[in-house]
């Protein structure tokens, strides 16, 4: 079991939901209006005057086998609009 935290520009919400549906990932937790900044080139998403865009974050726990698929599909989404920003982070879950 792996935990996946997807943080993305709020404009990506539909695509992220589509990916989760396609992979039959039923359970997730979503935060709207989260802020953040990319490590390398990513534009800040701060909801402020200078950086008005905002992020969302979706947290879900998935089977190990699905993780690479999720990663691949989300990369596809990210590549479709690289300026918007989308990242997914995985880590091991000890117990549910």
């Amino acid at each position: 079991m792996k935990a996946a935290l997807i943080t993305y520009n709020q404009a990506h919400i539909e695509e992220v939901e589509r990916v989760l549906n396609q992979l039959a990932i039923r359970g997730y937790t979503r935060w709207t209006d989260v802020q953040g900044r990319g490590s390398i080139n990513g534009e800040p998403h701060l909801g402020s005057h200078a950086w008005p865009s905002k992020n969302m974050a979706t947290f879900c726990v998935i089977e190990d086998a699905i993780a690479p698929l999720l990663k691949k599909m989300l990369r596809g989404v990210d590549n479709s609009a690289p300026q918007q920003g989308l990242r997914v982070f995985f880590w091991q879950i000890a117990d549910v």
Binding site: N9, A11, H12, E14, E15, S48, H49, A50, S53, P82
Partner: protein, 1046 residues
């Protein structure tokens, strides 16, 4: 869920809501009536009080002064002036504009009630008359006839006036200029004396012989019959056989002592239209009715009515107030359509995309049409103010939508789905868009609170623009994102043709960006030179402003000229007629293509005329009223003012003419009638003030530009006065009342009964034959009988003397006054007034006499001081809105730098177009405050954003400038081009709003340049100061939040 989110998610609901608004708007529009100005109350009332037998001075002392002191305590009183004449006191009350006249009149009535007992005996109850615009005739026709001319009155009354009066909205139709039928019993004084008869006895004999008496009813058998005595004469001939007396056993018939003539009134007003004698038909509307509606109904009904009139009767329109309204409204409508077209072109030009253009343009009809709902709901009309408001707003309603659309496009280009881009793109700019609209509301909302004359005009403008702006904001936050989500696509393919067409434009824009950047860099490198140039330009324009004249309200050419020519006192109708016809002839010879109709009216209306319009007009045997209607302004080369000036010259060239007063535009409630300058001479002594008035008239005559100079004091009138000796009257058992009624009945006539024929009534009048009423002896020979039947001649109890009646006494603000007033031609109001003031200062005058300059200049000063207050209020409000938006006191200050420099453009454009500073251009300047700062907000906001993103001051300024160049140019160009038709369209009434358009176009053009080039200089200057200060204090990292000076 926010507004834009729900509208994007529910496109059907959104579109249907806006569709409902549009449908309601169109419905309201179809119901709106058309008028020239928004409806407002007039601010004048007149109090009339008669005091029979008193001379002007008696009236002044006993009645006028008392009434004045009572009435001067009412609230909101602006001016109180009075005229005291023989027998009557007339007090004119002028209230502040916008006062509720009904309340004021009630107030006046209460106060008059209190002092009623203090008025002298024999003084009538004071009567209050409200002056309203409804008194102005809607239209005046002139009717001429050939064969039917002898019965013209009856034909017109039955065939034209009665059917017209039935048209809904028509208040009264009165006919003048044709004598009515009258049956005159011309008695011979000698015969009467022989039979011991009096006019009164003959009158009562006729009255007794000419009556129908219902005499009850009687039952015969089973039927009831009513009983009647039909004593009325069937024919006027039969009057001859009325028995008036028995004398020495012989029956005396009326024909023995008098000659009965079935004729027309002896004296009546005469009207000449283009030289032909005719009747005048004056149509007034019911109070509250809409002139244009009434006129439309009249025009619809008229062909049917004309069908029933005899063929030889020709109707001609002499005056029509609604033509001007219709033409003005139509030319404004054209202006609006042109403005719409310009805005479409600009949007397409800058966006280069069909879909985006359509989305933006949708906001125009929606917000404009919705404003009609407001007009309809608030009971207003389509008038030049509400339409100008729309014309002003067109360029501004698209601004919000453009900002929203631009941001959504950016999001889509960065890869968002249109739906999300629409929601989040709108979200990001919502606050900025609301703030921009708020600055405009800060400008236009104070308009709704204006008072005075300007308030009447601009209240509606303020409301209209506020409402349009709020609706356009709602559109930008709901309709625009919704349409974007539905219509916008990433990389939508444009057709090849369009691309080919647009590529050079795109290249041009790219080049402009580069050029601007280069210029901006140069400017930032040469701050001192730039500042010097700008300040020099500012000072230069201030110098220029000195040569721009000023006036109150720009005059517009409505094609009407009215006026009067007066011959010396005592001239009879024949001489007046000759001059009138000569004047008509000369005018038509001089302006064959310009003058459509010229109407002159001479003589007095008879006492028993029911023509209220004629009664309101001044008239007299020596008085010629003139009314000229010009042809359509497109068809003539000379304007109304030029023609008016020439008419004055023609009138002045007649040696017989004593006075003339010819006014362009007609007197329609003070608007468009042209400026007047009055010198008011306050002083008690008639002689001294009269001399001074003549001197001032001479001075005015020598100043260039003064024309049509009139002294308000009337000349002394010659008259015969019968001075009864009260003692002798008493000895003969007579009173003054009886004696004077004897004289009146014989000279003026006694209306004793009515003759009925075909349902119409005609007066039967008994009076002396004409041959016995033409000398002083005739008066002296009148016999007066006392109650005992004893007769005395007038000469035994009275002296008949020729006298000059003193003129009426005019007062203003409770002091005697003589006014010398003049119209202006070819000179501006302020220059003329200054010149006159300088001349008057040199004039030697007694110490107890005051001379003031009044007239339009007073209204102008009042209004301009109102405007200055308004601008200060607006500047403060705009500053507050901006300070709140930037959370800073410095940035609004920097942005406001563009306001004074906008004046460079204002004065330059006024100078180049030769337009004066007047109420309309002043309003334009006030509007500029809000429109000008909008650009600054966009620019400074983006520069700040760049700095917050960590970019240095200079780079932030240059980047900001470069990226905001197109949006600033686009919103500015929509506003400027939206106003352009207003500024340059020549149409009827355009003179009124042209100054506003010119000021905004000129001011905005220059101020945009200032915003784009000079504001970056100021910004960097202030920002550098704060940065240096910050470094000196050695604090940590610098961010935009702590670069503020405060």
């Amino acid at each position: 869920m926010s507004l834009y989110e729900s509208s994007v998610k529910k496109p059907i609901t959104t579109i249907l809501i806006f569709l409902t608004v549009v449908v309601l708007g169109i419905f309201s529009w179809s119901k709106l009536s058309v008028d020239l100005f928004p409806e407002f109350d007039m601010n004048q009332a007149v109090v009339l009080c008669t005091y029979s037998g008193a001379s002007a001075e008696d009236v002044e002392n006993n009645v006028t002064k008392l009434l004045e002191s009572t009435l001067s305590t009412i609230s909101d009183l602006k001016k109180i002036s009075s005229t005291s004449k023989d027998n009557v006191a007339i007090i004119q009350i002028e209230l502040n504009w916008g006062t509720d006249l009904d309340n004021a009149v009630n107030d006046m009535r209460d106060r008059l009630e209190m002092i009623k007992q203090s008025l002298p005996d024999g003084c009538s109850n004071p009567m209050i008359i409200k002056i309203s615009t409804d008194m102005m005739p809607v239209t005046i026709y002139s009717a001429t006839a050939k064969e039917s001319s002898s019965a013209l009155y009856k034909i017109l009354d039955d065939g034209l006036a009665n059917p017209l009066a039935r048209v809904s909205g028509v208040g009264s139709v009165s006919i003048s200029g044709v004598p009515k039928r009258e049956i005159i019993v011309n008695v011979d004084p000698k015969q009467m004396e022989a039979y011991n008869l009096t006019v009164e006895q003959i009158g009562s004999a006729i009255a007794q012989d000419n009556i129908n008496t219902p005499s009850g009813s009687m039952d015969i058998g089973s039927e009831t019959y009513s009983l009647r005595i039909e004593g009325e004469l069937k024919e006027s001939e039969l009057l001859n056989n009325v028995v008036v007396a028995n004398y020495g056993g012989k029956t005396i018939f009326l024909k023995d002592v008098a000659r009965v003539s079935d004729t027309v009134q002896e004296k009546a007003q005469e009207n000449y239209v283009n030289g032909a004698k005719g009747a005048t038909v004056v149509i007034q509307k019911q109070s509250g009715a809409n002139s244009v509606d009434v006129m439309n109904r009249i025009n619809k009904a008229l062909p049917d009515i004309m069908k029933d009139l005899p063929r030889d009767i020709k109707l001609q329109e002499v005056m029509n107030t609604t033509d001007n309204i219709k033409n003005s409204i139509n030319s404004l409508m054209e202006t609006i359509i042109l403005a719409c077209l310009f805005v479409i072109i600009v949007v397409l030009f800058f966006l280069g995309k069909w879909r985006a253009t359509i989305i933006i343009l949708m906001t125009i009809p929606v917000s404009l049409i919705a404003s009609f709902i407001y007009l309809y709901a608030s009971g207003n009309s389509l008038n030049i103010i509400s339409l100008s408001a729309i014309s002003i707003a067109i360029g501004m309603v698209v601004d919000d939508a453009i900002v929203v659309l631009e941001n959504i496009t950016t999001h889509i280009e960065r890869g968002s789905k249109p739906r999300e881009a629409a929601i989040y793109g709108t979200n990001e700019v919502a606050v900025a868009v609301i703030a921009a609209t708020l600055t405009l509301l800060a400008v236009f909302f104070p308009f709704t609170m204006m008072s005075g004359l300007a308030g009447l005009m601009f209240k509606q403008l303020g409301w209209m623009i506020c409402i349009v702006m709020i609706i356009s904001l709602a559109c930008a936050l709901s309709l625009t994102p919704m349409l974007c989500s539905q219509l916008m696509r990433k990389d939508t393919k444009q057709s090849g043709f369009f691309n080919k067409l647009y590529r050079p434009i795109k290249k041009g824009f790219d080049k402009l960006d580069v050029q601007y950047e280069r210029l901006l860099r140069w400017v930032l490198g040469h701050k001192l030179i730039t500042t010097i140039i700008i300040i020099a330009a500012f000072i230069g324009s201030m110098m220029l402003s000195k040569s721009i004249g000023s006036e109150f309200i720009p005059m517009s050419d409505n094609g009407q000229i009215t006026g009067n020519i007066q011959l010396p006192i005592g001239a009879n109708v024949d001489r007046s007629r000759e001059i009138a016809l000569r004047f008509e002839n000369d005018v038509r010879k001089e302006f064959p293509n310009e003058v459509k109709t010229i109407t002159t009216t001479i003589g007095q209306p008879s006492d028993d005329d029911d023509n209220s319009w004629a009664m309101l007009q001044t008239s007299g045997n020596n008085y010629i009223s003139i009314r000229v209607k010009l042809t359509d302004y497109r068809e003539r080369k000379k304007d109304m003012f030029e023609i008016t000036e020439r008419l004055r010259q023609i009138a002045a060239s007649y040696t017989e003419v004593a006075k003339y007063n010819i006014i362009a535009g007609g007197q329609n409630g003070g608007f468009g009638g042209g400026s007047t300058v009055d010198a008011e001479i306050y002083g008690f002594d008639f002689k001294v003030t009269e001399d001074l008035a003549q001197k001032i008239k001479g001075i005015m005559g020598n100043i260039k530009g003064f024309t049509n100079i009139v002294v308000s004091r009337e000349d002394y009138q010659p008259q015969y006065q019968i001075e009864f000796d009260r003692e002798k009257l008493a000895l003969n058992g007579l009173t003054l009342g009886t004696a004077s009624s004897f004289v009146r009945n014989r000279m003026n006539g006694l209306t004793c009964s009515l003759f009925r024929e075909d349902g119409d009534e005609y007066k039967i009048k008994v009076r002396y034959d004409r041959s016995s009423r033409h000398s002083v002896e005739d008066i002296e020979n009148i016999l007066i009988y006392n109650s005992a039947g004893k007769a005395v001649r007038v000469s035994e109890v009275a002296n008949v003397v020729e006298r000059f009646a003193p003129p009426s006494i005019q007062r203003q603000d409770r002091e005697r006054i003589v006014k010398v007033s003049a119209n202006l031609y070819g000179v501006s109001l302020d220059v003329a007034t200054k010149e006159l003031q300088a001349q008057l200062d040199k004039l030697e005058k007694p110490s107890n006499i005051n001379i003031d300059i009044a007239g339009t200049i007073v209204d102008q000063q009042d209004t301009f001081s109102d405007m200055i207050m308004l601008s200060l209020l607006i500047i403060m409000l705009v500053y507050i809105v901006m300070a709140a938006q930037f959370e800073s006191l410095l940035y609004p200050f920097i942005i406001m730098f563009s306001i004074p420099f906008a004046l460079i453009g204002v004065f330059l454009s006024l100078f180049l177009t030769g337009i004066t500073i007047n109420m309309m251009s002043a309003i334009g300047m006030v509007m500029l405050i809000g429109i000008v700062v909008k650009n600054g907000i966009v620019l400074v906001d983006y520069i700040n954003l760049n700095r917050e993103r960590g970019i240095g001051i200079k780079a932030a300024v240059i980047m900001g400038g470069k990226s905001r160049l197109r949006p600033v140019l686009m919103t500015t160009l929509t506003t400027i081009l939206g106003m352009l038709p207003m500024a340059f369209k020549i149409g009827e009434g355009s003179a009124l709003w042209q100054p506003m358009g010119v000021v905004i176009v000129g001011g905005l053009t220059i101020s945009t340049m200032i915003t784009l080039l000079f504001m970056p200089v100021i910004y960097t200057a202030f920002a550098s100061i704060s940065v240096r200060k910050y470094h000196k204090e050695g604090k940590g990292k610098l961010t935009r939040r702590n670069t503020n000076l405060e």
